[in-house]
Every structure is written in C-alpha cells, then in structure tokens.
C-alpha cells in the first residue's frame, strides 16, 4: 500500500516537473509589477563596458546594419523600451524562446548594462 502511494506521488511529481519544463509557464504578472521592475532597473547605473561585452552575444542576431523583418534592431534603442522588453521576456510575458532563455539568465545589473550600451550605439 505504502509503496504504491509513494510511486503515485513520485509519478505525479515527475509529471509536474516535466510539464513545467516542457511548456513554458505563462506568467500572469500585474502590469504594475513589471513597471516597478523596469523602474528599478532604470535606476541602476549600467556599466557600458560590461554591456559591450554582453552585447556582443546579441550582435549576431540583432545586427547593426539593415534590420531584418523578423529580428528587430536594438542599436540606439531607447533605454526604457529596451529594459521593458527584456523584463517582459524574463517574466514570460513576451514569447519567443530564444529571447526568453537569453533574458532569463540576465540579472538586473546586466540588463542595465546592456541598455546603457545599446542606447549609446548608433545604428549603421
């Protein structure tokens, strides 16, 4: 009896873990909470040198010259827009798995650094 209940519990746990990793959870966040997070990051003094290094990863897809239809340009992007976009990807509000995974590992400081770097970077 105990063994089957344990197996059932473990199976359910495994199913839950599997479900949560297989399908990204759609975060149901207040707009207020996102706003607050964006403002908090805007208040950080982003390090543009660090942003330049982090941003080299972005350059491959978000290239500097002629933007592609599917991948938006980010050079010269307004800092507020930039921070908001990454926060929304990080919170799961925006879809696109590449951006979600990228944003998920960015700390607030890193987002600030990237925003500072790209805002100052002129599109070619």
């Amino acid at each position: 009896m105990q063994a089957t209940r344990l197996v059932a519990a473990l199976t359910m746990m495994a199913a839950l873990v599997l479900a949560s990793t297989m399908v990204p959870a759609k975060a149901d966040r207040d707009v207020d909470q996102i706003d607050a997070k964006v403002e908090a990051i805007m208040a950080i003094d982003g390090d543009p040198a660090y942003g330049e290094f982090l941003g080299s990863e972005c350059a491959t897809c978000h290239r500097r010259s002629a933007p592609s239809e599917s991948i938006p340009p980010i050079s010269g992007m307004d800092e507020h827009h930039f921070v908001r976009a990454l926060v929304e990807y990080r919170e799961g509000v925006r879809s696109n798995e590449v951006m979600r995974t990228t944003a998920a590992r960015l700390s607030d400081e890193e987002i600030a650094a990237l925003a500072a770097h790209f805002a100052a970077r002129e599109p070619r």
């Binding site: 660090y50 290239r63 592609s68 798995e97 590992r105």
Partner: protein, 429 residues
C-alpha cells in the same frame, strides 16, 4: 617536407609575395614595425573570422591580427542544406574576407597552415613560409575520418559526397541531387557522435525530400542508415516528415541495420548487416575529428578533439593557443557555427585582456540551431551556457514543440534568415 624558412620580411611584403591580393592594410607600415603584439588566427570560418574581427576591432589598433585560410572564399556549411533545397543560391552562402581586411586592418594570408612550432611560436604554411605569433587561435573545423566507413575514402567522396565541409563537396551533392529521376533513391549514412551540426543530416534529408516532392516524384525513397539510436530534434523531424513527405523517408537505427558492412560507390550500394540499400545518390557522412592542424600542434586528446579551458577557450595543452568551434571539446555546446561564433568572442576578450589592458568579464556562451523541414516550416533548439571547472555547461535550453502553429514555424524559419545575415556581418564585416 617543407623547409621552415623563418624570414624577416614584413607582413606587407609577405602578402605581395603570395600574390594574395595584398589589400591595402589600414595600419601604416611604421606601426607594424613597432612590435605590436601579434595574434595569428588559423581558419576563417565562424570561429576564426569572428575572433580576428573582434580582436582587431576592439583593440584600437594595438594588436596585429593575421588571419590564415586556405581558400579565397568561404562557403558556410550552415545554410548549405538550404542551398541543396533551392532556398539559397551558392553565391548567397559564399563570402570573403575583403571587408574584414579593409575595415579592421587584418592581414589575410591565403595558404594552408601545416603545423605549429609551439616552442618557437610559429605557424608553418604549405609554401614553406612561417608566421610568428604571440597568441594563436586555431579554428580549423573538422577533418573527415574516411575509413570509419568501410569502402569510403577521399577519392570515393568525389562520387559519393559527404558535403560535411562546404564548398565543392556541396556542389557535387547538389549536381547529383538535381540529376535524379523519379524512382531513383538516395541513401544517406549519418555520422556517429560527436559530429558537426547535430540536426544537420536530418535537415538535409528534409531538403532532399523537398526537392523530390517539388518535382512530383512518387517512386523515389530516401534511406537513412544511422549509427545512432536517436538524433537531435527527432520528434520534430519525424512529425514533419510524416506530414510533408509521407512514405518517402525511411530511417534505420543501429538496432535494425546492425552496422555498415561496406559502401560500394560505383555500384551505388550501402551494405549493412540487415540488408543492402541501393541508391543513385549516396551521401556518406563519416565520423569526424578536429582539423589536422590541431593534431599537428599536439593539442588533441585520444578521441581526436581539443580539450579547452571552459572559462577562456584556451587549449588545455598550451596557454598561448586558443581553440574554437567544431575542433574543441566544448562540454554541452554542440558543434555549430553559432557556438564557434559565441566562443570566439570569449577568446577574443581574453586575448585582448592578456595583450592590452582591456577588461575581461566572466565568460558566457549561447547557441541556437535552426532547421528547415519544409517551406516555412522551421524548428529550432538552443541554450545558454556558462563555464564550470568541469566543462561548459548548459544553464537553460529551449526546443520547438511538435504541434506548433504554422505561423510559429514560419516565424522560426524567418528568424533563422535574420540570424544568418547577422552572423555573416559578425564574421566578415
């Protein structure tokens, strides 16, 4: 044997001697004479070209960068399947380093690098010349282990191409594909792990099927003989093949075929323990190992790949040599152009940190691999990575899902087009 001639000629004369279209170097000659630290990069692909570019571009002229590649142009292996499928032309996927030279003062040498003298810190070229380095970057890609498939050889590859190095091999494969008639079959021998571009063979199968389907062929089959029991994005490919190319593709894992006995390219047969498969087009993709110069330099392990330091991309055998891309043991990162480009930026940063007073930040890596199954039906897999003491480790990953909307699949394909333009700019501009 080549004689190792260590010459005193300056690099500007060097280029002229080779007749390598010695492009006007952006750096004045006097700066070159002044003993700037020298970085030599072997291999002008997504690893090497990116490394050369970032070192030159971000060092404000403080570092002398030389890029050595055996060819005058570079055909990307990534997207070469799309050329097979008529989604890209050969010209679309072929590029050169002229802009790189013009924009960043990089010295491009067109020559085959045959070896490295690590004590003397020189690279030797096929013509007997040597090039000195303070730091060396090797990004030589893969070599094909021809005899890993019984009956296969470099000669046989002229009629049964692998096309796992892009360029002439891809064109041979394309010619043979386009020459097929209805009722003629294709036999692919897929490679064993580890190999360049995990989903690549299956995207290629999809492109073969696309071409045959467009022509209205009903009697041709594509047989895949796979040494692997499973493959990258398998559920997605199988869903796509069933949907778009029902009955056309037959995949055989090792449990069924029991191993390859012999490939007879003249007869057009692949004999396995289970059965003999016959095709007018044989696409044999053997096992692989790091490009030859990595072995020549004494940097490879027993399996034939180069172990690297996950935090910097330095080779574990020699701190002054960085190795990038397919040639490396890169932990959880797949062998892909995207990975090589990502690793190149970490290496470039570390090299600049060593040779100048540039900042060095903690390494981070990323990869995304896109595959096209049919027109506007694209899938992807990818991850973010960080270095650990043990290896480069995946921190989060994603993969397309079966049953996704057509709209999302089209977006995914279009995203890959944006990425391609981006990485080409990141490598060659």
């Amino acid at each position: 044997m080549t004689t190792r001639l260590k010459t005193n000629i300056t690099r500007r004369h060097f280029g002229a001697l080779l007749g390598a279209g010695a492009a006007t170097l952006a750096m004045p000659a006097y700066l070159r004479a002044q003993g700037r630290p020298r970085v030599v990069v072997v291999g002008g692909g997504p690893g090497g070209a990116t490394a050369a570019r970032y070192i030159a571009k971000d060092s404000n002229g403080e570092i002398d960068v030389t890029l050595i590649d055996a060819n005058e142009s570079f055909t990307t292996c990534f997207f070469s399947n799309l050329y097979l499928g008529d989604f890209q032309s050969f010209d679309d996927i072929t590029h050169n380093w002229d802009q790189l030279v013009a924009n960043h003062g990089i010295n491009k040498i067109t020559a085959y690098a045959t070896g490295v003298d690590r004590a003397a810190k020189t690279v030797s070229l096929h013509n007997g010349e040597t090039v000195e380095y303070d730091r060396l970057v090797l990004s030589p890609g893969i070599d094909i282990v021809y005899d890993s498939v019984p009956g296969y050889s470099e000669d046989v590859a002229e009629i049964a191409p692998h096309a796992w190095q892009a360029g002439r091999q891809t064109q041979i494969l394309k010619e043979k594909l386009d020459a097929l008639e209805d009722g003629q079959h294709i036999v692919m021998v897929a490679p064993p792990n580890p190999y360049r571009c995990p989903p690549g063979p299956y995207e290629r199968v999809s492109m073969f099927a696309h071409v045959l389907k467009r022509k209205g062929f009903e009697n041709s089959r594509i047989y895949v003989i796979d040494p692997k029991p499973s493959f990258s994005k398998q559920a997605l490919f199988e869903e796509g093949w069933a949907r778009h190319y029902p009955g056309m593709i037959e995949w055989y894992g090792p449990d069924i075929h029991g191993g390859i006995v012999n490939v007879d390219a003249e007869a057009g047969t692949v004999e396995t323990d289970f059965d003999t498969f016959e095709g007018a087009l044989l696409n044999i993709i053997p096992a692989q190992r790091a490009g030859a110069i990595a072995h020549e330099a004494g940097l490879t392990n027993e399996a034939g790949w180069v172990p690297i330091d996950p935090f910097t991309m330095r080779s574990q055998e020699d701190e002054e040599i960085y190795v990038l891309g397919d040639a490396t043991v890169a932990g959880d990162m797949p062998k892909s152009g995207f990975s090589a480009n990502s690793q190149a930026k970490v290496a470039a940063m570390n090299i600049r940190g060593e040779l100048t007073d540039a900042n060095v930040f903690p390494a981070r890596y990323a990869n995304t691999c896109w595959s096209l199954i049919e027109t506007n039906d694209g899938v992807k897999v990818g991850a973010q990575y960080q270095p650990t003491e043990e290896k480069i480790e995946s921190v989060s990953s994603f993969i397309s899902q079966t049953g996704e909307s057509d709209e999302l699949r089209q977006e995914t394909y279009e995203e890959s087009l944006g990425w391609y333009d981006g990485i080409i700019e990141d490598m060659f501009s």
